[in-house]
């Protein structure tokens, strides 16, 4: 669990003690521009990321849903697919953000060493962190948008408030982009990426995407509810159902803080690695 230290950091504190270089110089958009140009030639790589959550929705939501039947959700009877869909939206936002903030950042940092070249320009480490996190977030947002279109087309949206799910999913992407990049800056070899799957796969399976948190004993509920994916799943599920509770703000704040903390850790680590 290499992402652990990120969790414990207070983002507000980190930001206050950051030297100016770590905050960037407003050049982050150039890193985004770089990724747009790089993917223009390989757009099909982007396309593949959409299918995974879609296939889960078909297989688990519809297929398994046949056996599960309808279930009660806040006094309403809903199809199992409609219950699972918001969870899959959250995990799609997570995976979409993790692609670029982990593997691709590592490639540029350690293999191609292209960040070394970037830092010989007026761009600062803070710009790199913000730029790469922004791009990862955008990639996550693209998948979220596509998945929401599918949800709507399949009639799985439960209320008009579901429009807000897009914003919530983007927040999930932000959190994971920050955590992913922060952790990646500490990785030494490709083997270390096993930690990413070791964290993301169990999170996907156990963060109440497929069943409610209430199946767990009390102590385990607390543990699971602390995972960023659960925070996202719960937030998106509530918005989808039109339940506007104060918990939403808590979820949002938690995810935003994680994203910021991850980004600050990434900027600081990049400074230590590339500007010794």
């Amino acid at each position: 669990m290499t992402v652990r230290p990120v969790f414990e950091r207070s983002s507000v504190l980190s930001l206050r003690v950051l030297p100016p270089a770590l905050l960037g110089r407003g050049m982050a958009r150039r890193l985004v521009e770089r990724n747009v140009i790089a993917y223009r030639r390989r757009w099909w790589i982007l396309a593949t990321g959409f299918f995974e959550p879609f296939f889960y929705l078909l297989s688990i939501g519809l297929g398994l849903g046949h056996l599960v039947g309808r279930l009660h959700l806040d006094g309403r009877l809903v199809a199992y697919a409609a219950y699972v869909a918001p969870g899959l939206l959250a995990s799609s936002a997570m995976n979409g953000a993790l692609f670029d903030s982990t593997f691709n950042v590592f490639f540029k940092l350690k293999i191609a060493k292209s960040y070394d070249a970037v830092l010989a320009t007026p761009v600062e480490v803070g710009d790199i962190a913000l730029g790469e996190v922004t791009w990862s977030l955008l990639r996550g947002a693209i998948y979220s948008f596509a998945f929401m279109c599918v949800m709507a087309a399949m009639g799985l949206v439960l209320s008009g408030w579901a429009v807000l799910c897009f914003g919530a999913a983007t927040l999930v992407s932000f959190a994971f982009a920050g955590i992913g990049m922060g952790a990646t800056c500490y990785m030494r070899s490709w083997q270390d990426f096993d930690y990413v799957s070791m964290a993301s796969i169990p999170m996907f399976l156990f963060s109440a995407v497929f069943y409610p948190l209430s199946v767990y004993p009390g102590w385990l509920q607390v543990v699971v509810s602390l995972t960023p994916l659960y925070q996202g799943v719960d937030m998106i599920r509530e918005l989808d159902a039109g339940l506007l509770t104060p918990a939403l703000a808590l979820h949002a704040g938690y995810l935003f803080a994680l994203g910021l903390a991850g980004m600050a850790v990434a900027a600081r680590r990049l400074g230590a690695l590339l500007r010794p």
């Binding site: 270089a21 110089r25 050049m27 150039r30 521009e33 770089r34 140009i37 790089a38 030639r41 540029k108 293999i111 191609a112 060493k113 292209s114 070394d116 070249a117 970037v118 830092l119 010989a120 320009t121 007026p122 761009v123 600062e124 590339l274 500007r275 010794p276």
Partner: protein
């Protein structure tokens, strides 16, 4: 938009500056400059200054502290001690401002492997916040300059070593810098690629760009540099023009005699008085003298029969050998 225009004016102003004959203003000044990594001292209190428009060299073996010095000058690595001024500013405080006016050719090409040749240049220009149209024009000019016009749409990975190096140099020029720093620009290139690269560097010099070059090839330093310093173990051991250094630390000519591995030392003893200085290397004996042919004749007169011999002009290699007792390239 207004920003961009203002910047363009800046750039054209600096271009005019390039055309002027070299004024004696100093582009880089270092006083007791130090770089430490923990307990290790990579750069140990060096002094040097680079004047506008000249080609200034750092000659030394691997590990001499050349790269650490270059990284401090290009504001990639903080100064640990002493003073450094680059383009009139202090790197630790004005990194981005200095880097805006400086081009760096690092030892590793660090090209963006996921982009085409043209996009590598284009995006680099964008990192300097240059307007799109301006960058596009510069990219085409630089592709031509780097002899890469036909390779514009290739993946970077498909380029040869020499081409990658030229692309890296072109990339450093996208911001039309006043000062270009080249860290071992020709290491690992074949002779033809080196000569093409030297030719491009000459052209830059003619345009008035100040060049700072590190190398462990003495012929490169002799070919390119107006002035240079010789570095060893973090210190500057000699400074001057290539000619001055050779005149000060060596003789006009050198006679090289090869006697076979076990016999060099014995032969050297007998040769001692034939030359101003005699140096024994594992594979040959060097006679430092102002008349190499005469020394060679005298050696044969002593009845010595070298397996091979040659007389050549003194080089910076000899200067380095004299100063450190070691060869430049191991």
């Amino acid at each position: 938009m207004q920003h961009a225009e203002a910047r363009q004016e800046d750039l054209s102003a600096s271009r005019e500056g390039r055309g002027r004959p070299a004024t004696r203003d100093e582009v880089v000044v270092a006083r007791h400059l130090e770089k430490r990594f923990g307990d290790f001292v990579a750069v140990d209190g060096i002094d040097f200054s680079v004047e506008r428009g000249e080609v200034f060299g750092f000659l030394g073996p691997n590990g001499a502290g050349k790269t650490s010095t270059m990284r401090m000058v290009s504001c990639l690595s903080p100064v640990s001690g002493g003073e450094l001024s680059v383009l009139g500013m202090e790197p630790n405080a004005h990194g981005p401002e200095i880097r805006r006016r400086l081009g760096l050719v690092p030892q590793d090409d660090t090209l963006d492997l996921e982009l085409s040749v043209r996009d590598n240049l284009y995006l680099y220009g964008r990192y300097f916040d240059l307007p799109r149209r301006e960058v596009r024009q510069r990219v085409e000019r630089l592709l031509e300059f780097a002899h890469l016009s036909e390779k514009g749409d290739e993946e970077v990975d498909n380029l040869s070593g020499g081409m990658k190096r030229r692309l890296t140099i072109a990339r450093a020029l996208i911001s039309e810098p006043e000062l270009v720093i080249l860290d071992e620009p020709t290491t690992g290139l074949d002779p033809q690629a080196r000569h093409l690269l030297w030719d491009r560097l000459y052209r830059l010099k003619q345009e008035g760009v100040t060049l700072v070059i590190t190398t462990h090839y003495m012929d490169e330093a002799e070919q390119l540099c107006d002035r240079l310093v010789v570095m060893d173990k973090g210190k500057i051991v000699a400074a001057g023009s290539p000619r001055q250094l050779i005149d000060t630390y060596s003789t006009r000519e050198v006679a090289e005699l090869r006697f076979g591995v076990d016999e060099n030392a014995a032969a050297a003893e007998r040769l001692a008085e034939l030359a101003a200085r005699v140096e024994v290397l594992p594979d040959r004996v060097l006679l430092y003298t102002d008349d190499g042919d005469e020394a060679l004749r005298a050696a044969l007169g002593l009845g010595l029969r070298p397996e091979a011999s040659l007389v050549r002009r003194s080089s910076l290699e000899d200067v380095f050998l004299r100063l450190t007792g070691r060869s430049l390239v191991d």
